[in-house]
Symmetry: C2
Subunit: 173 residues, 2 copies
Amino acid sequence: MDIEKVNSMDFGEFVDVFGNVVERCPLIAAAVWSQRPFSDLQDLKQHFYAFIDALPQSGQEGILRCHPDLAGRELQLGTLTAESQREQSGAGLTSLGADERLRLAELNAQYRARFGFPFVLAARLSDRAAVPRELARRLHCPRAQELRTALGEVKKIARLRLADLLGIDPARL
Amino acid sequence: MDIEKVNSMDFGEFVDVFGNVVERCPLIAAAVWSQRPFSDLQDLKQHFYAFIDALPQSGQEGILRCHPDLAGRELQLGTLTAESQREQSGAGLTSLGADERLRLAELNAQYRARFGFPFVLAARLSDRAAVPRELARRLHCPRAQELRTALGEVKKIARLRLADLLGIDPARL
């Protein structure tokens, strides 16, 4: 998909296509549409990033709270978004043993209790061995630093999802 | 539900309960959770309003773009949220004749083309005769005024949905 195609979309189409670039936050795609026409695909991506950065801190935390746990209850229940299901599956999180699942559930719960938002990680850039290691590490970071790290992961996820939707190599974004 | 109950919710529960107070914008409920504890139910409502007011204009337009048309395609397809389905049904919009549906579809399309967001109205405070009349009237308002009017309707909808969820008379909010 090229930028002319993107710029030709009405807001209904745009939100249908890009509504889950940020997990369960169609509001963000719907807001980004206000910034068209986009000069190129990087410019489109930058407007997603800029909207996230411009939110008040409560809104940034709100974005994180719209994310599911990794290997959590929603994966068990089958209620993940299609994108999240693919990402968690690709990282091997759908085929954990009972011990690994329990360990992750405990770490996720500690993280949520400590920070007031769930642990967010670009699962496609990770794997089942690295996820609990990274979770255990970030659990001990200062809150302000952790909020920045988590929003950085939201942007990595957004970039990969955008590249998929546009049918291009993520390196071009 | 009293304010102690609301204040005792973790963010997962809170977003499950209040995630559609603003149509298809769970991000907003998820952000409002950052402001707990709430002093009372009015304070809870005010934090929803304040978050909407603090968004950049693109974000406010984004909220509107997450709303379905009244008596539109999503009603036909059965893909409305439960809240929206109830509200449109209560206003008699699910039992329009073919002529009325066509007239509304034309007005909705004109409105979307003019303003770049859909016509939003608190359907529970309206009815099938008033909706097209109000749509035709607002279609001719200046854009800045119309954005304010539409966000006012978002707040009316939010207030009524909150009252439902809390099990109280809207007059108490």
